[in-house]
Amino acid sequence: MTSDWPGVRLHVVTGKGGTGKTTVAAALALALASSGQQVLLCEVEGRQGIAQLFDVPPLPYEETRIASAPGDSGGSLFALAIEPESALLEYLSMYYRLGRAGKALDKFGVIDFATTIAPGVRDVLLTGKVYEAVHRNKRGKNQRHYDAVVLDAPPTGRIAQFLNVNSELAGLAKVGPIRSQADSIMSLLRSERTRVHLVTVLEDMPVQETADGIAELTADDLPVGGVVVNLVRRRELDDDARTAALKGKLPRAGIEADLAKAGVDVTPQLVDGLLHEAHDHAERRRLEDEQRNRIATLDVPTYELDRQPDGIDLGALYELAADLVDQGIA
């Protein structure tokens, strides 16, 4: 199976709160690793969502191996929780060899200042670390080289602002090293090597935010990737059955006969309950189809992941990754 995104080195995953953005980012990273790639999965919001998902201790500011692909494909998955404070100190020691001044900066609260209020600096630092991971090459000594980096990014409402580090710094740092750092990051983010994927569920508000997010990204020249529709309900009933269920016209007698055939103790309560659940399901499916049609008009590749009735554990995550591979995202 060939991937829909050949040549993409940085997959940015965003989504509205509650849509399963972190889960999808992790599943995508696993999907990429399963084809033999070395993959880095990054988070930037200090939530330790990756550690919880993979059931490992909180991630340090250090690339940590969290999974290896089964078999001998050789792929493996590393994870990194990027914090702006550590990124700034690392950045300073890498480019400036500040020594004493670095410590003084911290002591005087400058690090805190730079990472919380200095406009845009925080985001430059977070994306800067991602940029560094993407740009490493095999010649680098003692450095791990990654074929792909997956970024569990801030939510859809903030994604364009987060990635558009240039404009955030505009009017502030017109020249200087921070500015040229921002320019390099921007050229990666706007290139063919980057795609921003949006996670949604089939509900009105998340779909609206996805549409708004795509418009904003496009306006900022940021490359939109695919839409991943998460938490999709199982499709048990066909169109005719759902239409009948909505109208309350499911063949009760036939269903009762079938139930009896299957050895179930048929009570009016049971049949009422099943018909009620069928109506409910059909109603939701109808609304989901409306949203699915709206997503189709967005004109981007879409992927669908089923709702896992028992929730997300490591096993479910691997299943989702396999579904993404089957659908060609990786």
């Binding site: 939530r47 005087f108 740092a173 921070i178 009105d204 009933l237 499911l250 036939g254």
Partner: protein
């Protein structure tokens, strides 16, 4: 668990799914309830819950103003507040029989911040501050500003309510923060930032050349100039110097808002969905509220799955569906098996949710809880909101 305190009453061992039932109507009807704060992690339906509560309170006779943070377009439309102008406006279509009213507004964070600056500083100084790039960043994208401004607006609304008598209940939604706790920390974070060491350092040059001679300063400004450029440093100093006079005011306001949140007339409702993350945040929040002595009214679990009474377990349904897979059926092919599988899946979902709720209840058995079943459609009019209110009230 840190929440275990002296004097708790309740069962020592319990198999309950939820705590005692939350009496929403009693809370809304009690004239002593002056402020209701809905908090919880993002994506759990906080805004809809706030709006539904506010409408119900109004139709039960309260004079209500609801502050929403970032409502869905259709929800905003349903209350007639699509326009973002930071002013409460009457919601049309509220039943007036009980004598109540409902006003609604959306928070405009930047506007609120600007107004605070304008009210605290002289016109020239205010203009100078509003134009500074650091202020622009602070007021529009500083993490925590939205939380801080929501609390600021709450304080203003409450004060207005007391002065003018226009409202007797303020319902407030909280920003969709990364963590539900952010808004409690925001005022403190902002004011401690403004009081920070670095800020005072930047102010030093403005206060006399002698202070410049501190040992570390040269090194620090040198490094900063190298990294950010001299212009950034100058902007920063102008901003800090201009803001200096406001610091005291900000800290005082933050302290007052914090006290208001601890007051008796305030009730916190923690909103969650039956998902591990949302319930974990809810648990943190409940613990934090009790640590801060803030009055917790209860937990609202939105989007709960409900099971019809069928008397058929999930396993039985799955087995029956498998038996039907081979052989002919009376109903159209696959229909009955489909119904059985749907039922089996829903049973699993409900079992999972009740497991998650039990985990919460085990740690916090005394927290009154209201459960709101998942709606099959989005709220897009007042009737929808009315239904939310009814479901909240049980």
């Amino acid at each position: 668990m840190t929440s275990r305190r002296k004097g708790r009453v309740g069962p020592l061992a319990s198999k309950q799914d939820t705590g005692p039932a939350l009496d929403v109507d009693a809370l809304l009807d009690d004239p002593a309830t002056e402020i209701i704060v809905c908090c919880g992690s993002g994506g759990v339906g906080k805004t809809t819950t706030s709006a539904g509560l506010a409408l119900r309170a109004a139709e039960r006779g309260r004079k209500v103003v609801v502050l929403t943070i970032d409502p869905a377009r259709r929800l905003a439309q349903s209350m007639g507040i699509e326009r973002l102008d930071n002013t409460p406006r009457p919601v049309p279509g509220v039943h007036p029989d009980a004598g109540g009213t409902l006003d609604a507004m959306m928070l405009d964070m930047k506007r609120t911040f600007d107004e605070v600056v304008e009210s605290q500083a002289s016109p020239e100084k205010a203009a100078q501050i509003l134009a500074n790039p650091f202020y622009v960043a602070l007021s529009s994208s500083f993490a925590g500003t939205q939380e801080y401004m929501a609390m600021e607006k709450l304080g203003q609304l409450h004060q207005d309510a007391q002065k003018s008598g226009r409202w007797d209940l303020v319902v407030v939604d909280t920003p969709p923060s990364r963590s539900a706790l952010d808004f409690l920390d925001a005022p403190e974070r902002l004011s401690s930032f403004l009081d920070g060491r670095f800020i005072r350092l930047l102010l030093a040059p403005a206060k006399g050349p002698a202070r410049l001679m501190t040992a570390g300063l040269g090194v620090v400004t040198g490094a900063l100039t190298k990294i950010l450029g001299a212009q950034v440093l100058r902007d920063m100093q102008t901003f800090v110097a201009a803001f200096d006079t406001l610091f005291g005011g900000f800290r005082q306001r933050a302290t007052k808002t914090f006290e208001l949140l601890q007051a008796e007339g305030t009730a916190f409702l923690v909103v969650a969905a039956p998902e591990p993350d949302a319930l974990r945040e809810a648990a943190y929040f409940v613990e934090r509220l009790s640590a801060e002595q803030m009055p917790l009214a209860g937990l609202v679990v939105n989007r709960a799955s409900r099971l019809s009474l069928t008397g058929l377990s999930g396993e039985q349904a799955t087995a029956a569906a498998e038996r039907l897979a081979s052989g002919t059926t009376d109903a159209p092919e696959g229909l009955t098996a489909g119904l059985l599988r749907l039922h089996a899946e829903r049973t699993r979902l409900v079992a999972r949710e009740s497991r998650l709720r039990r985990r919460f209840t085990a740690a916090h058995p005394t927290v009154p809880t209201a459960e709101v079943p998942a709606l099959s459609s989005d709220v897009h009019d007042l009737d929808g909101l009315r239904l939310v209110g009814e479901l909240l009230a049980g």
